[in-house]
């Protein structure tokens, strides 16, 4: 995520037929169904990889209810979907969150990402699942006041950390990568982890340990319990270690406690919501607004099941409706991939 997040872009708007918000299994299969109908799509996901819940929450767990695949893991299903949609050449914008949706009138929409990328599109497919994966906020009293000023969940600009006393909390790759990247610019860097074992890549752990051995950074075993400072300017953190509580000076804190799913920006797009889900019809899987569709775990309708299988069905019907928006007045011929030479050409198999 860190790398994608730093790829800011503020160029000309991207013009496209469809933007798919979310690269979970349902968003991915939407690329396929839209592609068969000649609808080009851009896919945006805040995660740095495709697959949504399957890739982030259970990559190694088996799924048993995908028709035709008696057993497949979350990661395998993602990989297979990526292979299946390859012919359609969708553009992926990973590590980016779609923040805003604007109606431009005349059936056009503008979507803007947190990196400033703009899309002008005729069709919006919201495949946001359980919401956008967001870094977990440690439940420390008053932490909100420091966020964006002294407490960060990702690094946008290394310069914000130059000459600072930086405290990084965590034991995985994100924590270790930023330890190694920020150690050269920080005044003093401390890594805090609850145990002296790290999940990160062995070579990162080794590098970190040698920096500690050379006294170029500090490693502490313990947990943060309180923050100190005022007006958003952090000055110290209290940590609970084996031998009691200690206070360490720091002006920057980077906590890495993994991700959680939060509805996020979708809530502010002016759509009808029913308990954080988007109501749709079951003919087109369209929201209350023409041109805006919602598929997969994010939608709701009588009888809805949050299954990948159901999401796949939904995108097939959604694509039919989207076709009439992208190609008004054109007739849509129903065809099978098995026997249609035109579909096979699109799939690159004939």
């Amino acid at each position: 995520m860190a790398e994608g997040a730093m790829n800011g872009s503020t160029g000309a708007p991207v013009e496209t037929d469809a933007v798919i918000v979310g690269a979970g299994p349902v968003g991915l299969f939407a690329v396929f169904e839209l592609g068969l109908l000649d609808i080009k799509a851009h896919v945006v996901d805040i995660l740095d990889k495709p697959g949504g819940q399957c890739a982030e929450l259970y990559p190694e767990k088996p799924i048993y209810d995908i028709p035709g695949l008696p057993i497949v893991t979350g990661q395998e299903l993602t990989d297979r979907l990526m292979t299946q949609i390859k012919p359609f050449g969708a553009t992926f914008h990973l590590g980016h969150r779609v923040d805003a949706l604007e109606r431009l009138g005349e059936g056009r929409f503008r979507l803007v990402t947190d990196a400033g990328t703009q899309f002008l599109t005729k069709v919006v497919v919201i495949a946001a699942g359980g919401g956008s994966f967001t870094p977990k906020r440690p439940p420390l009293a008053g932490i909100e006041a420091y966020e964006g000023k002294s407490v960060f969940y990702s690094v946008r600009r290394i310069e914000d950390f130059r000459g600072k006393d930086v405290l990084i909390v965590g034991g995985g790759d994100s924590a270790l990568d930023w330890v190694l990247n920020l150690q050269p610019v920080a005044n003093r860097l401390t890594l805090l982890h609850r145990r002296d074992e790290f999940r990160g890549a062995p070579h990162s752990v080794e590098k970190m340990r040698s920096l500690v051995a050379d006294k170029k950074m500090d490693l502490r075993i313990g947990q943060v319990t309180a923050l100190h400072g005022d007006n958003g300017a952090l000055s110290a953190a209290t940590i609970r270690a084996k031998d009691g509580e200690v206070r360490i000076d720091c002006s920057r804190l980077l906590p890495f406690f993994g991700l959680t799913m939060k509805l996020g920006p979708v809530a502010n797009w002016g759509l009808n919501l029913d308990e954080n889900l988007i109501p749709v019809d079951t003919e087109k899987f369209q929201t209350s607004e023409a041109g805006i569709f919602a598929v997969g775990d994010i939608n709701t309708y009588p009888g809805k099941l949050k299954l990948i299988l159901s999401g796949f069905h939904e995108v097939a019907l959604m694509a039919q409706a989207a076709y009439h928006i992208v190609y008004p007045g054109k007739k849509l011929l129903f065809q099978y991939t098995t026997s249609s030479s035109s579909l096979q050409k699109k799939l690159g198999v004939s």
């Binding site: 259970y58 977990k136 440690p138 609850r194 145990r195 999940r199 406690f257 993994g258 959680t260």
Partner: protein, 106 residues
């Protein structure tokens, strides 16, 4: 079968019946115990089913596996008695089990 007591941070107790083979997390969800979120549905992938096992029961439940220990890095206020409740299987031997729900899962 086992009776499991969940104690909330404010001291409120809730006793639930759990069948053998289900997990302590599932017993909590089934009985709408507050503070057990279990976002990943028991895949040991979210650490939002964190509980503190009562001292008297720690030997019977045993400690976390390596995978669970890794996932506990994503929990807050981890203590020696910390477990992810989706990784504790209910057996007759756990009849009477007492666990505490943390102040916040995250």
């Amino acid at each position: 079968m086992a009776k499991i007591t969940f104690i909330q941070p404010d001291g409120t107790e809730q006793v639930v019946d759990a069948e053998n083979g289900m997990t302590v997390m599932e017993a909590a969800k089934k009985n709408l115990v507050e503070g057990i979120e279990a976002e990943c549905g028991g895949a040991c992938a979210c650490a939002t089913c964190h509980v503190f096992v009562d001292e008297a029961w720690r030997e019977k439940t045993g400690g976390p596996s390596e995978m669970e220990e890794d996932m506990l890095d994503f929990a807050f206020d981890v203590r020696p008695s910390s477990r992810l409740s989706c990784q504790i299987k209910v057996t007759d031997a756990l009849d009477g089990l007492i666990v505490r729900v943390p102040e916040k899962q995250f």
